[in-house]
Symmetry: C2
Subunit: 332 residues, 2 copies
């Protein structure tokens, strides 16, 4: 059962994170550690996030037959990289709330927030280097290179997202490139980190990475669905429809290609809250909802197929299977 694993893994991940974040250096620089601890959710009951990415690292290592604990440095690194990107994305997107509390920039101002994000970024590389102790030097070196490459993919996806902000149009190719960078890259890397720590063969590593990649795309497609048709009361981060926020989500990008009633209205300018009901209806009429559901389904199947092809048949694989389904059945 995935839930059983998470109960064991989560405190272990946080212990590893604590080890990385507790630095003697911080004693000479009062204040910076508080921001990092706040972002990592250690200053409140609710703010920790789900630690999905590090759990995937550990499950992937377990799936390859290794003791999953050897992958803990990589698990900490992906969670740190994720949190670094959240801090900076929240500034770039002007988001005021995250996990039910103020974002770092809202609480400390933009300059300290940019800088705290940079500190967490640095700590991710600090974290990953400990793989030389828990696995070996080769694994540490390959994982460091993967972490750098993944960071670059994240920034490429984010660049596209920001660059398109003022435009009303986005093509399907640009959409998938953006999502591949912003969402799928880190899930794919999480699986690959586990495979590297577990000394999987090249083919198995590739299949596990594919699982993460497709799961990431499916996850984002479903997130886009929820952003328009999800129950706003369950969504937590914002009750404003993605349509009002003007986000280039999959339903919108699909409808733009149809050049129908929705596209015509969308291109004319911002959507007002009172229009959301009618416009989300038009999206359904024009096939956007069915398309997104179909894409989510297909991408999930590709993910699960990759997992099966990876050929690791144990409880960790079952947990990954369960994780994939749970992410895509979620309502928020």
């Amino acid at each position: 059962m995935l839930a059983d694993f998470i109960v064991i893994a989560q405190p272990t991940i946080d212990k590893e994170l604590q080890r990385v974040v507790t630095k003697a250096l911080f004693k000479s620089y009062p204040g910076i550690e508080d921001i990092l601890r706040y972002q990592l959710g250690w200053e409140s009951q609710s703010g920790q996030g789900k630690r999905i990415r590090p759990v995937m690292v550990l499950l992937s290592a377990g799936a390859t037959g290794a003791n999953w604990r050897c992958a803990l440095p990589a698990a900490a690194a992906v969670e740190l990289l994720h949190n670094f990107s959240l801090i900076h994305d929240d500034i770039e997107d002007n988001s005021q709330f995250r996990r039910g509390q103020h974002t770092v920039w809202k609480k400390w101002g933009i300059p300290l927030a940019i800088n705290a994000g940079d500190a967490i970024f640095a700590l991710a590389f600090d974290a990953i280097s400990r793989l030389s102790e828990t696995v070996d030097l080769q694994a540490a070196q390959r994982s460091t290179m993967l972490l750098a490459e993944t960071s670059l993919q994240l920034t490429c996806g984010q660049h596209m997202d920001i660059a398109y902000e003022r435009e009303r149009q986005m093509g399907m190719d640009a959409y998938w490139a953006m999502i591949a960078g912003k969402t799928a890259a880190l899930l794919s890397a999480s699986m690959r980190f586990g495979a590297i720590a577990g000394k999987a063969g090249a083919e198995q590593e590739q299949q596990l990475a594919s699982f993460g990649h497709y799961l990431g795309l499916a996850f984002q497609a479903w997130d886009d669905w929820l952003g328009i048709w999800g129950d706003p009361n369950e969504l937590g981060k914002s009750t404003e429809s993605d349509l009002v926020a003007g986000k280039k989500t999959l339903p919108v990008v699909f409808a733009l290609e149809q050049r129908g009633r929705f596209a015509e209205r969308w291109i004319r300018g911002s959507i007002r809250p009172e229009e959301v009901g009618v416009l989300s209806g038009w999206l359904i009429d024009e096939g956007a909802q069915a398309f997104v559901e179909n894409q989510t389904q297909q991408l999930t199947e590709k993910a699960l197929q990759s997992l099966q092809t990876a050929g690791c048949d144990n409880e960790y694989t079952d947990n990954l299977h369960e994780l994939a389904l749970s992410l895509l059945k979620r309502r928020r």
Copy 2:
């Protein structure tokens, strides 16, 4: 002669930088590469910066008796780390000009600038990993850890700088901690990278790192001197006195400890441009100028002593000696 080495080294450094920055990935994400190339000075005649830090890496490697070319991946990494921190510092400090042209945030806006800084940060780690080819896996691993640690020191120093921005007071201990993080850490690391690539012994590595550390402190002390008593026409970045900008520089921090006429006026609030002449005179009267000159002198001597103790006696050592003196004789 240092100048002869720089003529050979600079294009070699930029070739290594080009190699790192030219990524197939960027083809799918139009626009991001332009920002990186602009920051690295490849889009203009004047904007390249002096590449002092990578030159120090290479000289340090040469000083240990190695072929300095083996340290090129580390040289590229420190230049990238330096440029990442410039992009983010310029946002955090609201600086509009750098090397005679607009800063990245001024040209592309804050969101894309934060993100481009992150991309360069990632590329620094990408760059350093190639040490596994030019030296070996151990050198790559140790250098990666050093790069992460140095990045963290940079962010700690910057945190302190921002956190003190709204306060008029800063003690001497806080000042040196800030400078150790913001300036000395990267120069010290530059020397250590060279020593690691050159397989220097622990003691030699430590002395070379000390040279960089003290040189960094001396460099900053002298920079602070120039920011008040330097010729504004030669300074390029800004013609506004550091006194008007309210910067906590060494002369100010010294004068605050004296609790004299300058301190009394400083604590009351911002300095107007027309007060600068009188106040910089008070600083001289109260001994701040002499103190800073004395500190610069002493720190430079400590740096040169460390270099001598390192016991590497060749042309590269001579060049490092020359570099130290030239940085501290500069008028801008």
